[in-house]
Amino acid sequence: MARIYIFKRFERFWHWSQAALIMFMLATGFEIHGSYALLGWQKAADLHTTAAWTLIGLWLFAIFWHFTTGEWRQYIPTGKNILAVMNYYSVGIFTGAPHPFRVTQLSKHNPLQRLAYLLVKLFINPLIWASGLAYLYYNELAATKWAASAGLSLGSIALVHTAAAFMMLAFLIGHLYLSTTGHTPLAHIKAMITGWEDVESDAAAVTK
């Protein structure tokens, strides 16, 4: 086993603050939706809005970071080895087979991860972002002729926002579980905290 430095400081900060914000917004969001009462509606709505602006701010930094560092390339989807990875999670993981993907600094996500994260970044996030802003600024939106002619109602905006929230919830559950599938249950989580990932020694060509 060797260690490579795979998650940089900003990336870790971004990941964990985004994780906390998303979980908090799921909790407050479904309270606003009326699924349960926890903090009280007003508090839930206030905090949900504050968290939304924080997350938007964070995203702006993250987008900037991805493009200036070139890290956005980590999310370019690839079909190479994707079947092998799928086979690993459905069969190999139970038989003790090695993971078919080797983590490197230039390629830190396996093909399934690339696809899943790309989906989050290009579909779920924008959907939540756009519908959430429309929700927040519904009054201003409704006052425009464009919205009126498009038949855009608060109900339809809320519907999209809620649907996107359910997608995020499903992603979160899967993501949380898959984080335990490293060579030890906490290996991936440790890597996400410290930045250092344990890898098979023969693959540890690039270490810091």
């Binding site: 606003i32 009326g34 699924s35 509606w41």
Partner: protein, 533 residues
């Protein structure tokens, strides 16, 4: 001894001090707001034997006053709405005491005139206008029931032979002390609509004569102390803000001095504008759908005086074991049954009902056919919808009743209720006789058959504005089963009935399946790793 001198000097200084102050500061002298002291007017320095004599004296200076008043609803008791319906007390039937017609001597003490006892009243008479009922500042002015709005200047027994003595009032003193209208003046009638304190409106009763801030932030006697006319800004005696011509939605700016506004000056927006919430700006986003009153009047009848919520005339006429008209009172001593009126349900601290209202109110008139198969008959109803672009969600009091109608002609009945005669219902308890006289008086046909029908009338809730801290909270409406549960056509976040059921079901199902899937996968991993060891 020395102490004595010191004390005397101190007392002298204390006595002198205010005099010195007043001399050096002329502004501290009490400034009268009016330029006229009515007690100094020759025209008012005489004994008055009747109301019209006082009015004549008033008109000797205020030459145009009666002409102005003749144009008001307060005088005419008539109003034609935009749909062309003739409204006003003179013609409408409500589901409280129903109508003043044929009961003028009793009911018309709330007309701003003297002597409207029947059809023969002269609406062109200038001296028949009652100036004092609105401008008395002594609180001693009285218009006793039964005298058609006339006042008593010599002690009299009324009704004759009853032993009930009515004390005279001193018109000279009252006339010399006239002033601007106050809550007491307007309240003398408007607090008592429907035949008693708080009966009709629910948001207006005698508790508003001297309310605290919790009851009404504007009329708060120790605070803003608004008179009715502060909002109902009257010019030329024309009082704006009638519920016959309501403003359901005001998109105008706050009224500034010097600008000519054609909009109703009584609305909240006429002072507060369109974005009154400074601390929580999100609240301003609600004003496109929700009337100010909906959140800021959380309950009505909050001043300790009950309002009537329902009135069932069909049970009237019961006699007690003593053979006399029966009266039943509740624990607080308020009648909940009287033989002359039937059963009542009273309410205090009542949560309003809510509906879309666009300012149009349609009435069921005397001549309109009603259908008992479609109970309740709506005596009036507020029109509006979520989508008409003119409606807001308003709080209302819905008065529910059961009242007499002609079961053959299918019309509401005008009944002769009050009077010392053989046909008055309150004397003889005979609906047919009372209806025959009432219907004849208004020129409507009467078949002789009386039945009872359920009715509803709707009253806007707009007074008793609570302090901000007592306004509704988000969760009062943003919840299932909240205040606005029955209001459709608007998406209220937090209200389950607005949810797309399929989305919630699918969403939670996917989340649950994902969870089950990963738990199953995890369990399989644990089992596999044990077996592999």
């Amino acid at each position: 001894m020395r102490t004595g001198i010191f004390m005397a000097a101190l007392m002298a200084a204390m006595l002198l001090a205010p005099a010195v102050d007043a001399a050096s500061d002329p502004g501290s002298a009490k400034l009268l707001k009016s330029t006229a002291d009515h007690s100094q007017f020759k025209a008012l320095q005489q004994e008055f034997n009747s109301g019209p004599e006082v009015t004549k004296a008033c008109l000797s200076c205020h030459t145009e006053a009666s002409k102005q008043l003749h144009k008001t609803e307060h005088w005419k008791w008539e109003y034609r709405n935009a749909q062309g319906q003739l409204l006003g007390k003179k013609t409408l039937i409500n589901n409280f005491c129903t109508t003043p017609v044929t009961n003028e001597a009793a009911c018309n003490i709330c007309h701003i005139g003297y002597g409207w006892k029947d059809d023969s009243f002269d609406f062109t008479s200038e001296v028949n206008v009652d100036c004092l009922v609105c401008h008395d500042s002594t609180g001693n002015y009285r218009k006793p029931a039964g005298l058609a709005g006339n006042v008593v200047t010599k002690e009299m027994e009324f009704p004759p032979g009853s032993g009930n003595i009515i004390k005279p009032i001193n018109l000279k003193k009252i006339a010399q002390a006239v002033g601007k209208t106050s809550r007491d003046n307007c309240g003398a009638c408007h607090f008592y609509g429907g035949g008693g304190d708080g009966v009709k409106h629910g948001d207006m009763d005698s508790s508003l004569a001297s309310p605290d801030k919790a009851l009404d932030v504007h009329m708060d006697a120790l605070g803003n102390d608004f008179a009715c006319s502060t909002c109902h800004m009257t010019q030329g005696h024309q009082v704006p803000g009638s519920r016959y011509a309501p403003t359901a939605q005001d998109k105008g700016e706050a009224h500034l001095r010097g600008k000519a506004y054609k909009t109703n000056p009584t609305t909240c927006q006429a002072c507060h504008g369109q974005a009154p919430h400074k601390k929580i700006a999100k609240l301003n986003d609600h004003t496109d759908k929700v009337a100010c009153q909906t959140c800021h009047i959380p309950k009505f009848a909050r001043g300790g005086i009950a309002t009537k919520m329902s009135w069932d005339w069909s049970t009237a006429g019961k006699m007690g074991p003593d053979g006399k008209p029966l009266t039943i009172k509740d624990a607080k001593g308020h009648p909940i049954y009287t033989a002359i009126k039937g059963d009542f349900v009273l309410g205090e601290n009542v949560v309003p009902e809510y509906l879309w209202f666009n300012g149009t109110v349609t009435y069921t008139l005397r001549s309109d056919k009603i259908d008992k198969g479609k109970e309740p008959v709506r005596i009036n109803h507020f029109e509006g919808s979520a989508g008409d672009g003119k409606s807001l969600i308003w709080p209302v009091k819905i008065m529910r009743g059961k009242q007499a109608f002609d079961s053959v002609n299918k019309t509401l009945i005008v009944a002769h209720l009050a009077g010392n005669d053989d046909t008055a219902y309150w004397t003889n308890f005979n609906w047919e006789k009372a209806a025959a006289v009432g219907m004849a008086a208004v020129g409507e046909p009467f078949s002789g058959k009386v039945d009872f029908v359920k009715t509803e009338s709707t009253w806007p809730i707009t007074h008793m504005v609570a302090p901000a801290k007592d306004a509704l909270r988000c969760h009062d409406c943003h919840a299932s089963g909240g205040r606005l549960e029955k209001v459709r056509g608007v998406y209220i976040p937090g209200r389950a009935s607005d949810h797309a059921g399929w989305l919630d079901t699918t969403g939670w199902a996917i989340a649950a399946l994902t969870l089950l899937g990963v738990l199953g996968h995890g369990l399989a991993r644990v089992l596999a790793s044990r077996r592999n060891k």
